[in-house]
């Protein structure tokens, strides 16, 4: 709990206002055309395609060893319930970039592509209650 609150204020504070209630559609929409018009970033490889729903189920099931079955933690590791997709995505990407301090998640999050983290976040927001 402490962690989550800390995390969210830290990361969502200015940039992504409104996440705590509902994911704001505006910033996402605004970002898309800009990216389309702007010259392609210096990416060498094309972004990996999003994982299939069955692959996401495989992926999320491995998180349950620490976060509990369906994200319902049985102990001191925070659960994955009660957050929306945007919140989960922000935290997962924060772990990956290292902006969000952690003990183990920074090492694990680096094992997934951004597309995979987005799919995991979506699964968390949609299915883990």
């Amino acid at each position: 709990m402490r962690f989550k609150n800390h995390t969210l204020t830290l990361l969502l504070g200015a940039a992504l206002v409104g996440c705590a209630t509902e994911p704001p559609p505006a910033p996402a929409k605004a970002a898309a055309p800009t990216a389309a018009v702007a010259p392609a970033p210096a990416a060498v490889t094309p972004p990996a395609p999003p994982p299939t729903p069955a692959a996401v189920r495989n992926m999320i099931s491995t998180c349950y060893s620490c976060h509990g079955t369906d994200g319902r933690s049985a102990g001191s590791i925070p659960g994955l319930t009660g957050m929306n997709a945007k919140q989960a995505e922000t935290m997962l990407k924060g772990f990956k970039s290292g902006e969000l301090p952690a003990t183990v998640m920074m090492r694990l999050a680096k094992g997934y592509t951004d597309a995979e983290l987005e799919a995991l976040a979506n699964y968390i927001g949609t299915n883990l209650k």
Partner: protein, 430 residues
């Protein structure tokens, strides 16, 4: 997640036989209007096997799952080192099968599989019963090569316990630690790779030192190692120094750590260089896949089981999947976390295969937490994918806890070590 109804089975079976792809027994039975559903038998109710039963039933409640496990309750190796340290009771590391039976509809049989007939798709039990299956999952853990060290045997393990299967051996080692006089030497003999739980002997050293520091502070822990390097080595060596001073000494293989022989009467351990007189000896012998895997032609000449990295189906016996410590799972270590992760991928693959689908891409994780002291935790983590080279670690991810972390970091990881244990055991037996 979808529930397979009889009609789904009919559709799949119809399509499959029309295409001539599969003639699966379960599908055939369903198509004939028989009341059989696909049957999976799982051998072993430990970390791999029990996880597999629960996740098969979660993914497809239409599958009939039978678990064969001799013990009425399962005692976990994880946290058995904490029992030696006095941090946990045996009771707190013991888990029953009621939830698997009642909540998840697994048919649990307390029996032992004595033979596997892969061609006839059936197993024989100690009680004399036979069970037919459409797919078999084998997760029997490890067994010991007792005869590789002169003077050691299953009987000698009553004097120099291995405590590498949790249960009576754990209690025996604990009673020997309690009975020893202050000022004695506790020898831990650690095996060469590969073996169950690479950081296990070193976590044990810290937990035994924790007990000794409180109760017998003049005593020492001497690790005689067949290897020259070990898991999380830098973190362990730093932590031991910090918490226990010179109480723990590690002798690598090249400097006389390789144990060649033991004398259980004189309590002497012989290495390539020295003889060590000990008050307590914890001898962890070299290991193989579980006996049933060896006896059923599932293991290679080194004693471990080659499998398809995606489905964990044996490369030696079709229709039989091997998971957990017994399997050769590429870059994954032999850990409880890995066994459970493999079991989930295996369950998903079996569900897909029954439907005539290609199994989805797998994703595996391992994290081994170790306690050096009650408030001093460290970990090694990794994310794994299946590539053309088998199960490989995703580069740039994972690794060990940072080296010069503040005490608060170690304390948080100690807290999460306990959190992990609570979550994984509830995820498996809850």
């Amino acid at each position: 997640m979808s529930k397979i109804t009889r009609r789904d089975f009919l559709k799949i079976a119809g399509a499959a036989s029309a295409a001539g792809v599969l003639g699966h027994a379960a599908l055939a039975r369903a198509a004939e209007g028989g009341k059989g559903s696909a049957r999976v038998v799982v051998v072993g109710g430990g970390f791999g096997g029990a996880t597999c039963t629960k996740y098969l039933r979660r993914l497809d409640p239409g599958i009939a799952v039978t678990l064969v496990e001799p013990n009425a309750k399962f005692i976990t190796c994880p946290f058995s080192n904490l029992v030696l340290g006095g941090l946990r009771t045996m009771d707190s590391i013991t888990h029953g099968f009621d939830a698997l039976k009642k909540k998840h509809g697994v048919n649990v049989m307390h029996d032992t599989v004595t033979a596997i007939d892969a061609a006839g798709k059936k197993v024989t039990l100690k009680s004399g019963k036979t069970l037919s299956y459409d797919r078999l999952v084998v997760s029997p853990g490890i067994d010991f090569k007792f005869d590789t060290i002169e003077g050691y045997s299953e009987k000698a393990a009553e004097i120099m316990p291995h405590a590498w299967k949790a249960g009576p051996q754990t209690v025996l080692l604990q009673s020997k630690l309690k009975a020893m006089k202050d000022g004695g030497v506790v020898v831990i003999a650690a095996p060469a790779n590969p073996f169950r739980c690479p950081p296990g002997p070193y976590e044990r050293a810290g937990m035994i030192a924790h007990y000794l520091k409180e109760h017998k502070p003049k005593s020492k822990v001497l690790i005689l190692d067949a290897k020259d390097a070990f898991s999380k080595q830098g973190l362990f060596l730093d932590g031991w120094k910090k918490v226990y001073g010179d109480m723990i000494e590690w002798v690598p293989g090249a400097k006389g750590g390789v144990v060649m022989a033991v004398d259980t009467k004189k309590m002497v351990v012989d290495t390539t260089l020295d003889k060590h007189k000990a008050a307590v000896v914890n001898l962890i012998p070299p290991q193989t896949a579980g006996k049933i895997a060896l006896a059923s032609g599932l293991a290679d000449d080194k004693g471990w089981c080659p499998v398809d990295p995606r489905t964990f189906e044996s490369k030696m016996q079709p229709g039989v999947h091997v998971i957990g410590d017994s399997s050769i799972a590429g870059a994954l270590p032999k850990s409880a976390f890995a066994a459970s992760s493999e079991a989930k991928m295996c369950a998903a693959a079996i569900v897909a295969l029954f439907k005539g689908e290609t199994p989805a891409e797998s994703s595996l994780v391992n994290t081994c937490y170790s306690l050096i002291a009650p408030k001093y935790g460290i970990s090694v983590a990794g994310v794994y994918k299946v590539t053309e080279k088998g199960i490989t670690e995703v580069p740039g991810a994972g690794g060990v806890s940072p080296k010069d972390a503040p005490d608060s970091f170690r304390e948080n990881e100690a807290k999460y070590t306990v959190g992990w244990y609570q979550s994984i055991t509830a995820d498996i037996w809850g």
